[in-house]
């Protein structure tokens, strides 16, 4: 391997063309993971000086602040739905007073991180996939390479790092919106002060309940960033290839976020119980 990224072009075996041979599919899946591994290794070597600080800030803006309205909205919607649904069920069991705690716990432990992960992988994953994909097919990435600017350092490292850094922040915002909107939905049904709601919601809460689920979103951010960048960087086949890169970034990063969540949850439970 010459170290040129061009060697990371997608495997020759592209499903759909010829016979859908199982062997080809299996081989290409393993190839995909192998190349992803090489990609990660290459990425980790790119986290050295000179640091592309201004590009990092730009990417933080792209992934973070520009996703904020969407994430906040999704969080708020989750809170309302949780409140309405759970309230209905709790009334059946006569445990209505548990509502704030159920909303707080389920939002912070699960819904908040996962909703944020899915929103970000949809918005940012597609963005990165399409952007890097089109830069790849119009030779802008090659141009960067020949300018002696490492595209891994400039494009990939900044985007992955921005995703990693912004995910917990966005998750916190989503959590807050969900809890506040949950409270609003609850207080409309039966007036309760926000203070009382929060007091009830966090009754008996510990840092170990809430910190690990928020920190797991660092992992989500890494997955979204790396998968989207990988799919973008290995784009080939012109405009159609860019479309494919964007779609596959979203599909694969959402899928891996959900799969990783299963592992993270198990891990957190193992460590903290």
């Amino acid at each position: 391997m010459t170290g040129s990224i061009s060697t990371l072009a997608p495997p020759a075996a592209r499903p759909g063309g010829g016979k859908n041979d199982l062997k080809i599919v299996v081989v290409s899946v393993f190839e995909w993971f192998g190349e992803l591994g090489i990609f990660c290794a290459r990425l980790f070597r790119a986290f050295t000086s000179p640091y592309e600080v201004s590009e990092l800030i730009h990417q933080c803006d792209e992934t973070g602040s520009k996703s904020l309205p969407l994430v906040a909205l999704a969080g708020a919607a989750t809170g309302v739905v949780l409140s309405l649904q759970t309230r209905d069920s709790l009334i059946h069991f006569g445990a209505k007073s548990m509502l704030p705690a159920i909303i707080a716990y389920s939002v912070i432990k699960e819904s908040g991180p996962v909703i944020t992960g899915l929103i970000v992988s949809g918005r940012v994953g597609a963005g990165i996939g399409a952007e890097l994909g089109s830069m790849r097919v119009t030779e802008q990435i090659d141009a960067m390479e020949v300018s002696a600017v490492d595209p891994f350092r400039f494009l990939v490292a900044t985007r992955v790092l921005a995703c990693v850094l912004m995910m917990p922040l966005l998750t916190l915002c989503a959590d807050a919106c969900a809890i506040v909107s949950g409270w609003i939905a609850d207080t409309l049904a039966e007036p309760i002060s926000l203070r009382h709601f929060l007091d009830n919601g966090f009754k008996g809460a510990r840092f170990s309940d809430f910190i690990p689920p928020t920190l797991k979103t660092l992992g989500f951010g890494f997955i979204i960033g790396i998968v989207a960048c990988f799919q973008g960087m290995r784009t080939s086949g012109g405009t159609e290839g860019v479309g494919r890169a964007a779609t596959s970034s979203v599909v694969l990063s959402s899928l891996f976020v959900i799969l990783a969540d299963v592992i993270f949850v198990r891990l957190i439970l193992m460590i903290y119980s």
Binding site: S97, K203, F207
Partner: protein, 373 residues
């Protein structure tokens, strides 16, 4: 909006939320308040969970940190608690710890009562004695026990009544000796005693928070109160004036004696206030549905509640106002309440002659007598 501004908004928002979260949760964990550790040993913690509240004099002042099962059978479960240090001066060596629940479905919490002034203050890590917690299932067992006792008492009342009647017949028939009479005297005391015990048991059941709620909702507290002004039956002569209302207009639920539409009663009150009368009877009656005994009590209670209302809100001679609970009345097609006014000169009937049940016993009557003084 510049890039830096947007990013700044996100970062500040997230930090604020993080800070608020740390504050709220930290409040719970009391990481930032000074605190001390106390233990309490319990036979049984009744489902208490780690992280549960600790209340001192009803104020939330700590959390349960750990619950350790004992090493061997026969030892107690140890509950470790973190308490705010400002409670240090209240919790004494002899402060009892108990486990309570917030209502029927609520969470368990540890209740620590203030100790005696003479006892020394607790040390850090000291162990308090825990009281055996009351579990709902135990409570229900206890209630069942009381009801069993009540049932037993009823039987003995029946038996004594039987014995009494046989004694009476013996006396009537001239049988029996002085020794037998002494014997009978004892028997009579026994009857009194057993019925008083039963009364106490029933009151105890009602004062239990679970059941008192049930009684409260029905608008009256004490069964003895119900019959204080009750008469056995209506006077033989016709009433000069009769007011009547359907129960649903006056009471809030079909099975309670809680007033809702008391305004309707004013008409009767005004009449009694401005017209002389010999006797007024507040009669409660119900339709043919429901359990006989229950309906009887309910109608008594309703009559009582209406009487109270009239006496409290209008000026009149309240010794001349009596109540009667008719219970199921075949000539009523719906439950209701009536005020029957009799002319001056009507004799005041005596207190209820025949008892509707064991609840209305000599004890209850004695109580009623002392009240009316």
């Amino acid at each position: 909006m510049s890039k830096a501004f947007r990013l700044g908004v996100l970062i500040v928002a997230a930090l604020f939320i993080l800070g608020a979260g740390i504050f709220w949760i930290g409040n719970n964990e009391m990481r930032f308040r000074s605190k001390y550790r106390l233990n309490a040993d319990f036979q049984n913690v009744a489902g208490l969970a780690e992280g549960a509240e600790v209340r001192i004099a009803g104020v939330r002042k700590g959390t349960v940190r750990r619950i350790d099962l004992p090493q061997r059978p026969g030892q107690k479960v140890r509950v470790e608690m973190d308490l705010d240090s400002d409670t240090h001066r209240l919790v004494r060596h002899d402060s009892p710890a108990a486990i309570h629940a917030d209502g029927l479905m609520g969470d368990e919490y540890v209740k620590i009562s203030m100790g005696s002034t003479e006892a020394s203050a607790v040390q850090d890590n000291e162990t308090l004695q825990g009281a055996q917690p009351v579990e709902i299932s135990d409570l229900i067992d206890k209630a069942n026990g009381i009801l069993d006792t009540a049932g037993g008492a009823m039987q003995s009342v029946n038996q004594t009544a039987d014995s009494l009647s046989s004694i009476t017949s013996k006396i009537n028939s001239g049988a029996g000796t002085v020794g037998a009479l002494i014997n009978d005297r004892k028997l009579y005391q026994n009857v009194n005693q057993s019925t008083t015990e039963l009364q106490e048991d029933l009151e105890a059941v009602k004062h239990n928070f679970l059941l008192s709620h049930f009684f409260n909702q029905r608008g009256y507290e004490d069964s003895a109160e119900l019959t204080k002004y009750e008469i056995g039956q209506l006077p033989g002569r016709p009433a000069v004036r009769k007011f009547s209302w359907p129960a649903r207009q006056i009471f809030d639920k079909p099975d309670t004696a809680k007033l809702k539409g008391e305004k309707a009663l004013r008409e009767a009150g005004a009449f009694l206030q401005s017209n002389p009368f010999g006797l007024a009877v507040v009669a409660g009656y119900s339709d043919m549905e429901g359990d006989i005994a229950k309906e009887k009590v309910l109608t008594e209670a309703r009559a009582m509640v209406v009487r109270d209302y009239l006496v409290k809100n209008f000026k009149m001679d309240d010794t001349r106002i009596k109540t009667i609970g008719i219970g199921k009345s075949p000539d009523a097609n719906a439950a209701g309440i009536a005020v029957l006014v009799y002319p001056t000169g009507t004799a005041l009937p005596g207190p209820v002659a025949q008892s509707t049940g064991a609840a209305r016993s000599t004890g209850a009557n004695a109580q009623a007598a002392s009240h009316s003084q």
